[in-house]
C-alpha cells in the first residue's frame, strides 16, 4: 500500500486495457473484470478515508513523477479531506453503476470500455494535484459520454449527446485558457498545484488580474456544475443517457465543476473569489428556485430528476459562495449526499424504464404493488432529496442554510423555500408513479432479483450512514476547508473594516 492513490487511478484504465484485449464474445468476463476494476478503488478509497489523518489535514499520500520539467508539468496525485470525500462518492457510484449495467445486452465490451475510461477520468480529476493533469483528466471524463449516450441511450439521444459534449468542452477550453493565464501570471512557471498554493498564499496575483481571470475559471468549470444559465445540457443529457451513465453523470460528473471552482478558482484567486462570489450567491438562487419550478412542470421522471439535480447543485454553489466554514462543509457534504441520492433515483428509474419503455410517470401508476423493492428505493431517494432527517442531505442542507444565513440572508430564505418545492415534486412523483391502483399494463413487471438489489442496498446504507453519523465525513472535510478559507481571512477582515 505504498501508492494507494495511484492504484485507485490506474485500476479503471488497466481494466479498460484488459477489456480491449479480450474477445467481445466473453461478455461474462467483461463484466467480471469491470466489477474488479471498480471494486479495487472502492476498497482502497474506504481505506483512505478511514486512515486520513484528520488532525494533520492537507494533502496526503502524494505521489509525484516529473513529467515535462521544462514546462513545470508533473504527474502529481494525492488527496485532502475534500477530494477524499468526493473520491469515495465516485467509488460508490461507479461500483454500483457497473453492477446496474448488468442489464446492458448490446455491444457489452465497448460499453464497459467507455464506462471505465469515464470512471478513470473522474478519479483523475479528483486526485490530480497538477493543473495540466487536472485538465487532461477533466476532458477525458467528458468525451466517453458521447458514445455512451449516443449508442446506448434512448429518446432524443443524438441531440442530447452532441449538446452535452459541446457544452462541456466549451466550458473546459474556456477554463483551459484561464489556467494558461494563471500559469503565465503566477510567475512560478509551474502547473504544480501544491507549490502554486504555497507560493500564491505569500505572493498573490495582482487584484486586477484576479478579477479578470476569475470568470474564466468560474464559467468554464461552472458549465458542468451546472450553473444557471449554462445548465440546459444537463437534464436532456440525463434523460437520454443509459441509467448507469446518468447515475455517474448526475451523481459525480456535476460535482467536478463545483470541486474545480473550489479547488482552483477560490483557492488560488481569493481576491477574485471575494469579488465574484456574491454574484454566484445570486445565481445559485436561480438554480434552486428556477430549477425547482421547471422540475415541477416535468412529466418525464428522468427530466424531473435532471432538473432537480441542477436545483440541488444550487445549494452547493451557494455553500461555496458563502466562504465560511459551516457553509463550505455543508456544500462538500451535500455534493456527497446528493450524488448518492441521485444515483439511487436514476438506478430505480432505469430499472422500471428498461421494462416499460416509458418514463412519463402518468403512464406508470401503482408500481409499488408490482415492484415493491424498486418503489421503496425510489421513495427513499425522494425523501432524501426532500431533506428528510436521517439522510445525509438533511445534515448538509442544514449546514448550508446556517452558513448562508450569516452571509447572504435573501439567498438563504430563497434556498429554504426551495426545499418546499423539492418536497412537492418529489412526493408527487412518488404518488403518481408508484402509489395508487396499479396500471394494468404493468402486471408483467419484474422486481429486482437478489443480485440486482446489491447496488441499491449499498447506496441506501451509505446515505443513511452519513445521515446518522455525519461527523465521520465532516471531520475529514473540515480538516481541509479550513485551509481553503485561510487565504480569504485577511480579505474578509479588510472588508469588515
Amino acid at each position: 500500500m505504498n501508492h494507494p492513490v495511484s492504484w485507485i487511478l490506474l485500476s479503471p484504465f488497466v481494466g479498460a486495457l484488459v477489456l480491449i484485449l479480450i474477445p467481445s464474445s466473453q461478455a461474462a468476463w467483461v463484466r467480471r473484470i469491470s466489477v474488479l476494476a471498480t471494486g479495487i478503488p472502492l476498497v482502497l478509497t474506504l481505506w483512505l478515508i478511514t486512515h486520513y489523518n484528520r488532525t494533520l489535514g492537507g494533502y496526503q499520500w502524494v505521489d509525484r513523477i516529473p513529467w515535462i520539467p521544462s514546462l513545470g508539468i508533473a504527474y502529481q496525485v494525492g488527496v485532502d479531506g475534500i477530494s477524499v470525500t468526493l473520491t469515495l462518492l465516485h467509488a460508490l457510484c461507479s461500483f454500483t453503476g457497473v453492477l446496474v449495467s448488468y442489464r446492458i445486452r448490446e455491444r457489452v465490451k465497448e460499453y464497459y470500455i467507455f464506462y471505465l475510461l469515464l470512471i478513470g477520468g473522474v478519479y483523475g480529476v479528483f486526485t490530480s494535484l497538477d493543473l495540466f493533469f487536472f485538465y487532461l483528466f477533466y476532458e477525458m471524463a467528458v468525451i466517453p459520454m458521447f458514445p455512451l449516450i449516443g449508442i446506448w441511450g434512448s429518446g432524443e439521444k443524438d441531440y442530447a449527446t452532441m449538446k452535452l459534449t459541446l457544452y462541456l468542452t466549451a466550458g473546459a477550453v474556456l477554463a483551459l485558457v484561464g489556467l494558461l493565464i494563471l500559469y503565465g501570471t503566477s510567475g512560478l512557471q509551474t502547473f504544480d498545484l501544491i507549490s502554486l498554493e504555497r507560493f500564491l498564499a505569500q505572493n498573490p496575483i495582482p487584484g486586477e488580474i484576479q478579477k479578470f481571470l476569475f470568470p474564466f475559471l468560474l464559467i468554464g468549470f461552472g458549465v458542468i456544475a451546472p450553473m444557471w444559465p449554462f445548465h440546459s445540457w444537463s437534464p436532456i443529457g440525463h434523460a437520454a443517457a443509459p441509467s448507469a451513465v446518468s447515475m455517474l453523470h448526475a451523481g459525480v460528473l456535476m460535482k467536478l465543476g463545483s470541486y474545480a471552482i473550489l479547488r482552483i478558482a477560490v483557492q488560488l484567486l481569493p481576491q477574485g473569489a471575494y469579488l465574484w462570489l456574491p454574484w454566484v450567491a445570486g445565481i445559485s438562487v436561480m438554480n434552486i428556485v428556477y430549477g425547482g419550478f421547471v422540475a415541477m412542470a416535468q412529466k418525464d421522471v428522468k427530466f424531473l430528476i435532471g432538473y432537480s439535480s441542477s436545483s440541488h447543485m444550487g445549494y452547493v454553489l451557494l455553500g461555496i459562495a458563502c466562504l465560511n466554514p459551516v457553509a463550505l462543509n455543508g456544500a462538500v457534504l451535500l455534493m456527497f449526499a446528493h450524488g448518492l441520492m441521485t444515483a439511487l433515483a436514476f438506478a430505480a428509474v432505469g430499472h422500471v424504464y428498461d421494462q416499460t419503455h416509458t418514463r412519463l410517470f402518468a403512464d406508470w401508476g401503482g408500481l409499488a404493488r408490482q415492484v415493491p423493492f424498486i418503489a421503496t428505493a425510489f421513495t427513499l431517494a425522494a425523501l432524501a432529496g426532500s431533506g428528510l432527517p436521517g439522510f445525509g442531505n438533511f445534515v448538509a442542507e442544514l449546514l448550508v442554510f446556517f452558513g448562508s444565513w450569516e452571509a447572504y440572508r435573501i439567498s438563504a430564505v430563497a434556498a429554504v423555500f426551495g426545499i418546499v418545492i423539492t418536497a412537492f415534486y418529489m412526493l408527487r412523483a412518488v404518488r403518481t408513479g408508484f402509489l395508487g391502483p396499479l396500471n394494468p399494463r404493468w402486471v408483467q413487471l419484474q422486481d429486482a432479483t437478489v443480485f440486482e438489489r446489491v447496488p441499491y442496498l449499498i447506496l441506501v446504507s451509505a446515505l443513511v450512514a452519513v445521515g446518522c453519523w455525519p461527523r465521520f465525513l465532516t471531520d475529514v472535510i473540515g480538516a481541509s476547508t479550513g485551509s481553503v478559507l485561510k487565504h480569504l481571512a485577511p480579505l474578509q477582515m479588510l472588508a469588515q473594516r
Binding site: 513529467w67 515535462i68 521544462s70 514546462l71 495540466f132 485538465y135 487532461l136 483528466f137 476532458e139 477525458m140 468525451i143 458521447f146 458514445p147 449516443g150 449508442i151 443524438d158 449527446t161 452532441m162 459534449t165 459541446l166 468542452t169 466549451a170 477550453v173 474556456l174 483551459l176 485558457v177 494558461l180 493565464i181 500559469y183 503565465g184
Partner: protein, 470 residues
Amino acid sequence: MLPELWVSLLAFVVLLLDLKWKEARHSALGLIASLGLLPVFPMLLWQSTFPTQNLLFGMYRIDPLALFFKGIFIATAILVTLMTRELRETFEHGHGEFYLLILTATLGMLFVASAGDFLMLFVSLELITISFYVMTAYLKTDLRSLEAGLKYLILGSVASGLFLYGIAFLYGSTGSTQFADIKAAIQKNPSLSPGLLFGLLLVLSGVIFKTAAVPFQIWVPDVYEGAPTSVTAFLSVGSKSAGFLVALRILHELFMPASAHWTGLIAWLAGLTILYGNLGAIPQKNIKRLLGYSSIGHAGYLLIGVAATTRLGTTAVNFYLLSYLVTNLAVFLVVTAFSRRVGSDEMRDYAGLSRRSPFLAAAMFIALLSLAGVPPLSGFFGKFLLLMSAVSQGYLMLALIGAAAVVISLYYYLLLVKTMYVDAPTDPTPIPVSLPIRLSLYACLAAILGIGIWQGPFLGLSFAAVKGLF
C-alpha cells in the same frame, strides 16, 4: 547530402524498373519505394551527430531544423506510397510512374529543408509543385480529378510567380539571394525599407498558398476532393509541412529582428484561418472536402506558433506538425482502405462502419479525436502548447478563438463518429483491411497515443530542432 543522393538513386531505380517491368508487377514498385525510403532515417540520425554544415558556398545547409523536417517528409512519403499501392486499381494504367512522382516530390521537400539560398529554395519548391500538378490530375477519366489538377496548376503558378517576384525585390533591396547575406542586412537595419517589406509580403503569399491558410486557401476543398486520396494525404501533410518549414526559415530565421512588422499580420491570418477552416467544415458531406477544410483550420493553429515568435511557439509548431503527421495520415489510411472496398468518399456511406470493420472505425475514432485535440492524444498536447504560446505572448483573443474552434471541430468530427457508431449500415458486408494498411495504422495509432501520453521525448526532439533559430 547522403539522404538526397539515396532518394535520387531510388527514384532512378523506380523509373528504370517501371520501363522494364510489365504493368502487372508494378505494385511491387510501391513496396520498393516505401521500403527503400526506410534507410533514410538512420542516415538522418547519423547526420544529426555533426554540427551544422554549410555546403556549396552556403547554397545548402544541414542544420537540426532541416533534419527534423526531413524526417517528417520521409515518414509521410512512406505512408503515402503504401496508400497509393492500396489504390492501384483506381489508376487505369501507369501507376508505376506514380511512385516516381512521389519520390521526386519528396526529393524536392528534402531540398527545401536544406536550402540556404532563395534561388535554391524556389527551384526546390517548383520540384514539389510540378510533381503535384501531375499527381493531382492523375485519374485521367475522372472529371473532378482533372478539375482539381487544373485549379492547382493555375493557382499554384500564380503563387510561384508571386514568390519569384518577391525574391526579385529581396535581391533588389539587399543585393543577394543568400539567406546569410539577407539576414545580416536585416540585422543591420531592422526597420525594413519599402522594397524589402513588399518583397517579404510577396514571398509570404507564395508560402501561405503552400500552407493553405487564409487568404490563399480557396483551392483547398476542390483540389482535396478531386485528387487521388493518397495525393490529398500528401498535400495535406507533406506540402503543408514544407510550407511551414519555409515560413519558419523566412520569418523566424531571416526576418526575426523585424518581427514587429509582421507578427500582427500573421496573428490576424491565424485567427481568420482557424475560423474559416472550422466553420467551413460544418456543412460538408464528402469526407475529403471535410478534411480539406479541417486542414485549413490546422494551418491556422500552426500560424499561432509562427506569430508567437518565441522558442515555445516554434517548438509548438514542430510538435504540432509531428502529431498532425501521424494523426492526419491515420485518417487518410482509413479513408483509403474504405474507398478501395466501398468506392465512395461520401460521409453517409460510413454509416455503421463500427459493425463492418471495428478496427477501421476505432482507428478513425481515435484519429478524429486527436485532430480535435482531445487528451490524452497527441493533438491535444500540440494545441495545448500553441495556446500556451499565444497566451504567453498576450494574444488572448487568438487563444480564445483557438479554444472556441476546438468545440466547433469537435462538432463535425463527432458527427462522423456518430455516423460510424450509431447509424445502421446500408450494406453490412465486412470491410477487409490489407496487411500494409493495417500495419501502418497500428504504427500511426501507437504514435498518436505515445506522443500524447509520453510527450517529453517528442517535445525534446521538436525543441532541439529550433535551437539554431534563436
